[in-house]
Symmetry: C2
Subunit: 127 residues, 2 copies
DNA sequence: TTTGTTTTACGAATTAAATCGTATTTTGCT
DNA sequence: AGCAAAATACGATTTAATTCGTAAAACAAA
């Protein structure tokens, strides 16, 4: 069996995880303020969501301190891999290449990033 | 306003759309049999899902014939673009490059595919 | 046409996500 | 200590997704 139980974050949970992955730790207020930039929602809604994520084991928290500080438990990498796989299957006919092409085509990358991808490509070609 | 109303397929709907995109048209039975390969679900469940998708305008259908034949209405490209964008934002810290790297790293691509990506990369570099 | 099979229609139940109001607790300040 | 502000807990509601049973309709074959 896998080491961590299998967890499929919902859309809202993913938005919260995004912030936690970025900051490593954050209070409900932190998260809520960040979320509010792009989304309308009450404070207690965010709170409740994070509490549920805690119950699910998706995030951890330190409540020894006054204000609870949350941190991600589910790994960004695993989540990325899982969702990417699903996306490739359902949206890109099973072809990772198609996904890559769309990603590169639709979103502009800087010269540095292009170079980074070139490096990776070179490595893959060698094998 | 956008030409098509904005539509966010659910997980299950995406699985059905995948099949319709692949085949262009299919009956409920066709879809159901394909789904059954990877998933446990009753026939009427698939039927109901497709009926709901029809009501949402996500798929169309020809019911002039005995057995209803469904076809996709929402565009694969638009859906790809939309979900890809969300994924980049929430899972890859806003960096399409990171997504590309993960996609290439985790799923092996054939030499032909690598070449295809190389072509694209060359084009992007020129600009 | 009768009978059995396949398909569609419909309604209902179940499950889960998301939102929020209100109450309680904790904290910070004077 | 006493009060106001901020944070948490909790419960309830709303909304939507999913599932499936059952009935009606369409069809195929004898």
């Amino acid at each position: 069996m896998g080491t961590s139980k299998y967890i499929k974050p919902t859309e809202s949970e993913l938005e919260i995880l995004r912030i936690l992955w970025e900051r490593n730790k954050a209070s409900v207020r932190d998260v809520h303020e960040e979320l509010s930039k792009t989304k309308e929602a009450g404070y207690t809604t965010t709170l409740k969501l994070m509490q549920i994520m805690f119950e699910k084991g998706m995030v951890g928290r330190d409540d020894s301190v006054k204000i609870h500080v949350y941190h991600p438990v589910v790994s960004r990498e695993k989540t990325q891999k899982h969702l990417l796989g699903k996306m490739i299957t359902n949206l890109f006919g099973g072809s990772p290449t198609e996904l890559v092409i769309h990603a590169l085509g639709n979103h502009k990358a800087s010269p540095e990033e292009l170079e980074e991808i070139q490096q990776l490509l070179n490595n893959l070609k060698k094998q």
